[in-house]
């Protein structure tokens, strides 16, 4: 249990006062009920550790789905001044640009009823899943360099999906500043066979339907209606990103010594943003960001093909449209108001989602009046949410919000709890058909291993940093 002091600021906001070498206070968004479970973890100490880093602005922030990570907590947000501040690979995470995309379809729930098993089986067949899964795409190192530079556009240029969708991806699916020369051979070796693969752990492709609409105007803007069938894809940059992070951490350990940066935890190792080491990581990170954009674009194309084929439709019968795609492990240069003045900052989001409010020019024009769509997957047995960014998020959290349900049980405890049970059957009994490569993944990922995502969503909407638009319910899922 964390012994830290928590000052209640509002019903959904708690402040950890600045103490010792902390440069700013810590702030955690959560309900009182959630705070108790958050305190049982070491995660609040990690919020304080991040507050020690040079150039941090305003607060070291954590979202309600905060849980223990390495170095930075999962659910952490920290913004740094470009001149005084640092960039830390640990503040982005190993799975660089892990993210979520939501596709809407022209299908109604009734159109897929009776076909769920067939659809999920076909999705499972066409999308490589599981530990170290290798893709059907066999690209060369040279082609991989194009992926690093072009991101999702590489995929649409190759015929994976429609280029008109690109504007509905953060950064339009193409992060600037990528430099393939900063990427190691080892990262390329890990990256080439894994493009177009889902991976393992909490990554998934889910067939869903819109079960509830909270904000009808916003839902209309997004083109979401009750009972509409949707697809959600959650994956990231695979071994390519892990290796880039790993390579960078070694360099950043040296850099932290070189620049005399005090680290309460080695995993927070970092370098000044404008240092050669900082610039090198940012250029390599951008390569991994683009890889993940391309990966989701490819998988999404296969998912659409599978859905059509499972229903016996010819190509183009179903209308698919990308609603939006968010990144939740990323660091980006953004302009925010600090003391009422616009300042350029480097915002780290590790297990947190950008949630820009209405009027922001970084939000596609079509959605600008409602704010940026935010996609919050829950566990595979309950529901996911579509939210939007708010003015409150712009004022308080550098335009950021939560990213998911957050784990409740450790993987080990989840496996213990699943002993003697069939998670597959339990989910089937509530109408959700699941395919997964490993039995263990299913146990680790079972619904009760996660917090109820609606608690997390209530906290961010209660705090005014997000607006609730719609809820999606799973019909079937493929897991790693």
């Amino acid at each position: 249990m964390s012994s830290l002091k928590f000052l209640q600021k509002t019903d959904y906001l708690w402040e950890i006062p600045q103490e010792g070498k902390m440069r700013v206070p810590g702030r955690i968004y959560a309900s009182k009920k959630m705070l108790n479970s958050i305190r049982a973890d070491n995660a609040p100490d990690q919020v304080c550790n991040v507050a020690h880093l040079p150039g941090i602005v305003n607060y070291s922030l954590a979202m309600p789905d905060i849980h223990w990570g390495y170095g930075f907590s999962i659910g952490g947000v920290a913004a740094f001044d470009l001149d005084e501040g640092i960039i830390s690979p640990g503040g982005v995470g190993y799975d660089i640009n892990c993210g979520v995309r939501l596709l809407k379809t022209s299908l109604n729930r009734k159109d897929v009823s009776g076909h769920i098993k067939k659809i999920i089986d076909l999705l499972f067949q066409s999308i490589p899943t599981g530990v170290g899964s290798k893709g059907a795409l066999r690209i060369t190192h040279n082609e991989l360099k194009r992926v690093m530079l072009d991101g999702a556009k590489w995929a649409t240029d190759k015929g994976f999906g429609d280029a008109s969708n690109l504007e509905f991806i953060e950064e339009n699916g193409q992060m600037p500043g990528a430099d393939p020369a900063t990427v190691s051979e080892r990262a390329m070796d890990r990256g080439t066979p894994q493009l177009g693969t889902l991976g393992s752990g909490n990554h998934f492709v889910e067939l869903q339907y819109v079960d509830k609409i909270y904000d009808h105007d916003a839902a209309t803007t997004l083109g979401l209606t009750e009972d509409q069938v949707t697809l959600t894809i959650h994956t990231g940059s695979r071994g390519f990103g892990y290796q880039i992070c790993d390579d960078s951490i070694k360099k950043m350990l040296r850099a932290s010594e070189k620049y005399d940066i005090y680290l309460p935890d080695k995993q927070l190792c970092c370098a000044p943003i404008r240092s050669p080491e900082g610039k090198e990581y940012l250029a390599a990170m951008a390569c991994a960001i683009n890889y993940a954009f391309a990966n989701r674009q490819v998988i999404s194309h296969w998912a659409c093909e599978s859905l059509e084929s499972a229903l016996g439709f010819s190509k183009g019968t179903i209308k698919f449209q990308l609603v939006y795609e968010v990144a939740h492990n990323i660091a980006k240069e953004e302009t925010h108001l600090v003391d009422k003045k616009p300042v350029k900052l480097l915002v780290h989001r590790k297990g947190a989602t950008r949630a820009f409010g209405p009027g922001s020019h970084d939000v596609p024009e079509k959605y600008r009046k409602i704010g940026q769509p935010v996609l919050i997957p829950g566990d595979m047995g309950r529901y996911s949410y579509v939210l939007s960014g708010t003015e409150g998020a712009m004022n308080e959290t550098f335009g950021s919000t939560c990213h998911g349900a957050g784990r409740l049980l450790s993987r080990h405890k989840a496996i213990d709890a699943a002993k003697g049970r069939s998670i597959f059957r339990e989910l089937e009994d509530i109408g959700i058909y699941v395919r997964s490569t490993g039995k263990k993944t299913l146990a680790e990922e079972m619904p009760e291993a996660y917090k109820d995502v609606s608690d997390v969503v209530d906290a961010v909407t209660g705090a005014g940093i997000s607006n609730k638009i719609a809820r999606l319910k799973p019909l079937g899922v493929i897991k790693g």
Partner: protein, 144 residues
């Protein structure tokens, strides 16, 4: 899953999102060999493994902690890139934070063996290597 017979070599520690192991040994060499065993044991089924392949591994670092991360990272990379799993780690040289080893195991066959967890990386978080007389202990956390 780690069976009771491996408890003297390492134990799995609880963390919400990730997996950690605490490793024991009567010498630094044994500690490093047990750490490698522990990592493969939490990652994949290595029971009754045949020894059809072997490799020589050399790694170096500036201190014990970094050496441990570098060593395990190298082994994880061999698993990922060559699809080989190991349960025997003979440390042939261990001096000045340099380690040489002959590792033995087999090609991984997913039809015969289950993978428990994909290790994305070996982290520096809450990492330690400590010596108390001839008792060595270390802790390492894997990002999975």
């Amino acid at each position: 899953m780690p069976g009771s017979k491996s408890h003297e070599r390492y134990i799995q520690i609880e963390h919400t999102g990730d997996i950690g192991i605490k490793i024991f040994g009567n010498s630094a060499q044994e500690l490093f060999a047990n750490a490698a065993y522990g990592m493969f044991d939490v990652m994949v089924d290595i029971s009754e493994l045949e020894h059809n392949v072997s490799e020589t591994i050399d790694v170096a670092a500036d201190n014990y902690e970094e050496l441990l991360v570098t060593w395990l990272t190298e082994l994880n990379y061999i698993f990922i890139s060559e699809n080989r799993i190991f349960d025997k780690f003979e440390i042939t040289r261990f001096k000045n934070f340099e380690l040489s080893s002959i590792i033995s195991g087999d090609t991984f066959d997913p039809r015969k063996r289950e993978i428990y967890s994909e290790i994305k990386a070996i982290t520096y978080h809450e990492l330690y290597v400590k010596q108390n007389g001839d008792k060595w202990e270390a802790q390492v956390i894997f990002d999975i």
